[in-house]
């Protein structure tokens, strides 16, 4: 449990650390900035993969759709994360902002050209993708094995760990996405998400302000509930 948290924090989202440690050395300083409205797509599944993006502000949901409309969110990308990395010529998932966001764009040809000559950059890409893989597998464990309560609790713990980098107000987690986004991430319906959050409130483990700001009242209990 604790080791999982450490993994999430330290490496699961390594790009966060990378950004702060060496923000000038990933090539994105040459990229252009693009603003994205809430619910606007950065790209869609099937689009040619012309650019890689680094999130500077906001949250981007990466998702895959089934033909009947079911949607699985694969990851949320937060500031410092990269999206659009990979070996394929086309994107294989949608990237859609859950709230207003800013991203930096760098052409894939530029990036790949640089990477083919610069082993350090190639290794950085390797590590970034490795970190995404850790996150994807961690989510898979939640979705495949955990109950609704455990998934929601683990989600909140994870979000809290990610966003408490600087000495934030220690026990507040902002939810910059809708219930439907959380549901589609965790493989639950919005009703189950809502009921579970309500239950956590009645258990006095969390408090919710305005539906979007979660105050963690008992973080030990929340981590217990998140399962091992």
């Amino acid at each position: 449990m604790f080791s999982e948290l450490v993994a999430q924090d330290v490496q699961g989202k390594l790009p966060i650390a990378a950004m702060f440690c060496e923000p000038q050395h990933d090539g994105f300083e040459r990229g252009t900035i693009r603003r994205v409205e809430a619910k606007e797509h950065v790209f869609r599944e099937g689009d040619p993969r012309t650019h890689v993006f680094r999130i500077d502000e906001g949250v981007i949901a990466l998702s895959k759709l089934l033909s009947d409309g079911r949607r699985q969110i694969i990851d949320f990308a937060y500031p410092g994360d990269y999206i659009g990395l990979g070996v394929l010529t086309d994107h294989i998932f949608d990237a859609q902002a859950t709230c207003a966001a800013k991203v930096r764009c760098l052409s894939t040809t530029t990036l790949e050209h640089d990477a083919s000559r610069d082993a350090g950059l190639a290794l950085k890409l390797y590590k970034a993708v490795s970190a995404e893989l850790v996150a994807a597998r961690s989510l898979l464990v939640s979705v495949g094995q955990k109950t609704a309560m455990e998934r929601i609790a683990a989600f909140l713990v994870d979000l809290h760990a990610r966003n408490t980098q600087a000495a934030d107000d220690a026990d507040i987690v902002k939810l910059p996405m809708r219930r439907s986004d959380i549901g589609d991430l965790l493989g639950l319906t919005i009703e189950t998400v809502s009921r579970t959050i309500t239950k956590l409130r009645t258990m006095r483990v969390i408090d919710v302000i305005n539906g979007t700001e979660v105050h963690i009242l008992n973080s030990d209990r929340l981590e217990e509930l998140a399962g091992a």
Copy 2:
């Protein structure tokens, strides 16, 4: 659906292609061979990550355990696949053979030393991990969104696509793992796996010999059932 299949086939397991195209150029020709018995661990979560392995024969299940014994299989590694890649000092999942297997071992320090000087090798690692990421996310969609029937059908379709590289007996899929392994991969119980397979038999979509050899009688229907 079809595009997903293509993704799985062509890139989801790119290492298969890589192995056949350039088997002498991944550094593993210098590695030692290790035999692994069925159910024996190649490594466990928490072990120091001293080697990277390339599967030469058999199937290795990669899994994570929760403290109460629930298990999520994260991927099956088939011949040509690499396991143990990543940026962490310790392994974060178990690797256990589902049947007798052979793996090639290469020390991580050797590999990383080579990769830091050889951008081509670093890029190859990057691509291998990217392919694993594609597979992990595809599984996540199944587990998060699909019904038991859709998951089993998609699993069979995927397995069929992976193993039909050479012109095999076109419509036979061998299941080199137990029902519990399939269940732990798909987030189902062994009973549900068994019932669903039985249902596919009574629907005349597949036939099962000896519990381990699946004959696909109606592959169009099977792909329909696998969902989009």
